[in-house]
């Protein structure tokens, strides 16, 4: 059986199979599995479909056909209580059902063409009518609403809010990131000291932007003192404190 040069595109494996059956003028109740499978495989090889989803469906059908072919080539088991099931039976059922809906779809298509000749009208409601909102009747709206009822609703809403709150997690405080790290401050101060040789402690602290900064700066000074990078000098108690750098500028 020759393949036509013009390859039609098929929506799915069932579509292709039906086409092959029709072309070969095959009785759907007695499909020549070997021949049909061969033709099917030829078509698959020629197909230029890129769509992986669809191609995989075709593959599944190919596997099914080969499976059926194999079953039919094997000698039938001579079991008396077992019914003689034609391995093609399930496929035939599927093909029949598909063929049915295919023919229904052609009928629907015709009906659609016919029904298209009928015209309908849009609503002709004047704007004032469609925009009309009946006046608010407060008595009707608030009918049956007592203060007690309102309170009950309020309680329910509040309870819902409380229920939503996770009792453990909501108590966690905020962990804020430090503005300035001590190490940073130390290196900054080192450089500053190396550059300025001598500077006032008060002046240094006054220049800091926040309390945290003041504290960190103070700690940095202490650290630098400990490591011997700076010296502190105060003439008298409560006098100005002078800081002198012991390291030479880079």
């Amino acid at each position: 059986m020759e393949l036509t040069v013009k390859l039609e595109s098929f929506e799915g494996p069932l579509d292709l199979l039906l086409h092959l059956l029709e072309k070969n003028k095959v009785n759907i109740y007695d499909i020549p599995i070997v021949e049909i499978t061969n033709q099917y495989m030829e078509y698959i090889h020629e197909m230029e479909r890129q769509d992986l989803d669809i191609m995989s469906e075709f593959m599944v059908m190919a596997a099914t056909l080969i499976d059926i072919k194999a079953k039919m080539l094997l000698p039938k088991k001579a079991a008396e209580d077992e019914e003689d099931v034609d391995p093609r039976a399930e496929l035939v059922q599927q093909l029949l059902e598909y063929k049915l809906y295919k023919s229904i779809s052609y009928e629907l298509k015709d009906r659609q063409l016919d029904a298209d000749r009928v015209m309908y009208k849009e609503p002709t409601i004047p704007k004032e009518v469609s925009a009309y909102v009946p006046p608010l009747n407060l008595d009707e709206l608030l009918d049956g609403l007592t203060l007690k009822k309102l309170n009950a609703v309020f309680e329910t809403v509040m309870k819902r809010q409380i229920d939503k709150l996770d009792p453990v997690r909501s108590k966690f405080g905020r962990i804020e990131k430090e503005e300035v790290s001590l190490d940073e401050k130390i290196s900054v101060l080192e450089q500053y000291a190396a550059l300025h040789k001598t500077f006032s402690f008060r002046g240094l602290l006054e220049r800091q932007s926040s309390r945290v900064q003041v504290i960190v700066t103070f700690l940095a000074i202490l650290e630098l003192m400990k490591t011997g990078k700076i010296e502190i000098f105060q003439e008298q108690a409560f006098d100005e404190i002078h800081i002198t750098s012991r390291i030479a500028a880079a």
Partner: protein
Amino acid sequence: MVEQNEAGSTAVSDKAAIVEAVLFTMGESVPLQKLADVLGLHTEETKQVMRQIMSEYENERRGIQIIELDGAYQMCTKKQMYEYLIQIARQPKKQVLTDVLLETLSIIAYKQPVTKVEIEKIRGVSSGHAVNKLVEYNLVCEIGRLDVPGRPLLFGTTEEFLRRFGVNSIEELPKPQPEQVEEFRQEAEEEIRLKV
């Protein structure tokens, strides 16, 4: 409308006039209950009124007809008027349904309520795209979920489907099942006989 002498028929004629005015103004389909409310009648009596007015429009030489769509009524032109109407009213281009969509639509129409998986089993290919397109065209819609693990969506046809395919209700869809299968069986028998 011709005035009748019997009081009952006059009343019906008056009611029919009201229905006529309502259907014209609303343009879109009007459910039976709404008409009943307007007329101040029970739905059964309203149905009677509708039957009368519908047959009048059908029998008299009118260019308009009243159709029923699953319990709602709508006014529209008769098919024969189309060739005259296109000379005046430009009809907006309706989307052409591809074969794939038509097939999927057929399955949904006859098997509703149906899930995507059931549709795919019949077609042999995945049908998500087709179903979504049909929903977009307002030809099918979600009508619930199947009570099994996964709770998949169930699909069915819409009123728009009835309009587009000239069907009054789903029950009125042409029933091919027994005849078609019989046809195939006969074809098959023929071929077997020929072989022998």
